[in-house]
């Protein structure tokens, strides 16, 4: 394929990404109130911060990732406190804990389910034939373990991948813009937040974030990212 044509294609994709910061799929906009104030269990966030090299490789940065994790955690706590939500952070289990395996499996299952929702449930993806246009994804009855062991009604999962344009890539972008008038792909922030009803295992709210801005390396920017990510969280 001709390189400049590929650049145009990348630029078109980049534009389509930046057009909207978040998109939501949900089955409800309110929490079920079997108890007066439902409690949300905040699951350990899966977050990675990388640098986009000039050649287009995504290079995971350990230093940024560690501070990103800290900032994200603080910002999530602040955001939920601001909403007056009742919530608690999941406490990691010891490997010999009888619930350890189920917990690990739920984390993995949510990871896979989240990827599939990202890939198949949002237009322009045509959607999976078996879903018939409905948003009905679930982790199954094993989530009751989380409900019972932590006395929570909901769990909030967060997955984020943040990449930043390296100086080499920035120079190359500039050159491409001058030579061909095209916009090469730069760093971006993609991820999702997902609210699971622990009684049924159903994912009741899923917010997809995809944009060419946002940062998690400092707390102020992380706050902005979390506010965007959790826009419209059922209350």
């Amino acid at each position: 394929m001709f390189t400049s044509f590929r650049l145009v294609l990348v630029a078109a994709l980049a534009l389509s990404v930046s057009a909207c910061a978040t998109r939501t799929l949900s089955t409800t906009d309110k929490l079920t109130r079997d108890v007066a104030q439902p409690k949300i269990l905040l699951m350990p966030a899966d977050v990675e911060l990388s640098e986009l090299t000039a050649g287009g490789l995504t290079e995971l940065n350990a230093d940024w990732t560690l501070s990103g994790q800290r900032n994200l955690k603080a910002a999530l706590n602040e955001h939920l406190a601001k909403l007056n939500a009742r919530f608690s952070e999941y406490q990691p289990l010891a490997q010999d804990d009888p619930h350890y395996d189920t917990f690990q499996q739920l984390q993995k299952l949510h990871g896979v389910t989240g990827i599939n929702i990202q890939n198949y449930a949002f237009p322009p993806a045509p959607g999976l034939p078996g879903k018939e246009g409905k948003f009905n994804w679930a982790l199954g009855p094993a989530t009751t373990m989380l409900a019972e062991s932590t006395d929570s009604q909901y769990a909030l999962f967060v997955w984020l991948r943040d990449s930043y344009t390296s100086s080499g890539r920035r120079a190359l972008k500039l050159a491409a813009a001058i030579l061909f008038g095209v916009q090469m792909e730069g760093g971006k922030q993609v991820g999702y937040a997902s609210l699971v009803d622990l009684k049924t295992g159903e994912i009741v709210w899923f917010n997809l974030l995809a944009r060419e801005s946002g940062d998690l390396r400092d707390l102020a920017s992380a706050r902005e990212s979390v506010d965007t990510l959790l826009t419209g969280l059922p209350q």
């Binding site: 394929m1 001709f2 390189t3 400049s4 650049l7 990675e48 990388s50 090299t53 000039a54 050649g55 287009g56 490789l57 290079e59 995971l60 940065n61 350990a62 230093d63 990732t65 560690l66 395996d101 690990q104 993995k108 080499g168 190359l172 050159a175 491409a176 030579l179 061909f180």
Partner: protein, 394 residues
């Protein structure tokens, strides 16, 4: 496609001449020190972070083999091969029915079940593990990542310049060259691992010819799979250009030459592999059956039969191989293997049940009952005991 490929091959050959190596290392990166952890500000720390995540997945995976005897053997072997890294390397046995092992930059080593049933001696297994330890010691993952980053960076710049000519081939060329360079670099890492892995093998007192022997086995099995040469010359050229590893033939030859120059160990090398596999090998053999690669599996099982102390397991696996293929007379062939299994050492109780159910289906009820009885004798606590008793009473 063709002219473009030729052009890029020619260019790759020109560039290959420029690649220089520092003595003793194909990457120019220092060997890892015992107890090493990279500084969090480095690119290597990012690679380790990825490896740590993958290791946690591996550790919790249902596919990890937790058999104590087998884990004790691989841990001991790793420390024999690399005493200096004994505290840094963490071997995991995983149930993946293919011939492979991997080493992560953070010291996690995964040994696949398909390798464990293909290696015939502890020395052969040690040859592969020694190769993997070299990937760790020489920090090959970091080296490959840096090499890939440099090559793709250069390609991006040259590709952009090339695009100004308006000629597609010129714009594409740097990217093709980058792929060739990256893969050639990977093959150099593999050669280094073969060579240093061999040195570790010999130093630990294992059989020097084992490294070449294991590659010879893999080649023989591959030949059994493809009874005729199906690759055209062009396919082969492309494959050599993009391959991450040197061809198995080359690896066997170089390792054989090294072995011929090396004295045999003065004390016989330890060979605890078969004993360590007793509790899990049948599962591994049956995983092989599930791959659905009839020819290769059959060749493997027949090879193992030559001097195996537990042929009952292998006859049973051969029976399963035919039963699952279920072509023409396969059921009869499988039944004959199950019969052989029943009379051999190491027969799994299921072999008796297989004979019984096939006989039953064929209307040979008395013979079937005899084997159902033998099944219950061999497995008194069988979960299907009530069902079998019902058959026996009818």
């Amino acid at each position: 496609m063709k002219p473009r490929l030729l052009l890029s091959l020619a260019a790759a050959m020109l560039l290959a001449g420029c690649v220089t190596h520092e003595t003793g290392s194909s990457s120019g990166i220092a060997t890892v020190n015992p107890g090493y952890r990279p500084d969090v500000k480095t690119d290597e720390a990012g690679i380790w972070l990825t490896a740590d995540k993958a290791e946690a997945d591996l550790r919790d995976s249902a596919n990890r083999v937790r058999d104590p005897a087998l884990n004790a053997l691989v841990s001991d072997m790793v420390c024999k091969l690399a005493a200096e890294y004994c505290g840094d390397l963490r071997p995991y046995v995983v149930r993946v029915p293919h011939f492979n092992a991997t080493a992560s930059p953070n010291g996690a080593i995964s040994i696949w079940s398909g390798l464990l049933i293909r290696a015939r001696t502890e020395s052969e297994l040690a040859a592969v593990v020694g190769h993997e330890i070299t990937h760790y010691a020489r920090r090959h993952t970091l080296a490959r990542f840096r090499n890939a980053r440099e090559n793709t960076d250069v390609a991006a710049v040259l590709g952009l310049l090339g695009a100004t000519t308006g000629v597609a081939q010129i714009a594409e060329l740097p990217h093709v060259i980058a792929v060739g360079n990256i893969q050639a670099f990977s093959r150099d890492n593999e050669r280094e691992s073969d060579e240093e892995g061999f040195n570790r093998l010999v130093k630990a007192g294992y059989e020097p010819s084992a490294a070449a022997d294991v590659w010879k086995r893999i080649l023989d099995l591959k030949k059994a799979k493809h009874e005729f040469e199906y690759e055209s010359y062009e396919d082969r050229t492309v494959r050599l250009f993009v391959a991450s590893h040197p061809p198995s033939e080359e690896r066997e030859k170089s390792l054989r030459e090294l072995a011929e120059k090396t004295a045999k160990p003065t004390v016989p090398p330890p060979d605890r592999l078969r004993q360590a596999l007793v509790g899990v090998r049948l599962d591994f053999l049956l995983d092989e059956v599930k791959l659905g690669q009839f020819r290769e599996s059959k060749a493997l099982f027949e090879l193992l039969l030559k001097d195996d102390p537990l042929p009952g397991q292998i006859y049973y696996a051969l029976g399963e191989l035919y039963r699952k293929r279920a072509k023409d007379d396969d059921e009869l062939v499988s039944m004959s293997y199950f019969h052989q299994a029943c009379e051999a050492m190491g027969a799994p109780p299921e072999a008796f049940r297989m004979v019984a159910t096939i006989r039953w289906r064929r209307g040979e009820k008395e013979l079937a009952k005899e084997y159902f009885r033998r099944y219950l004798n061999a497995a008194p606590d069988a979960g299907d005991r009530d069902l079998i008793t019902h058959y026996l009473g009818s």
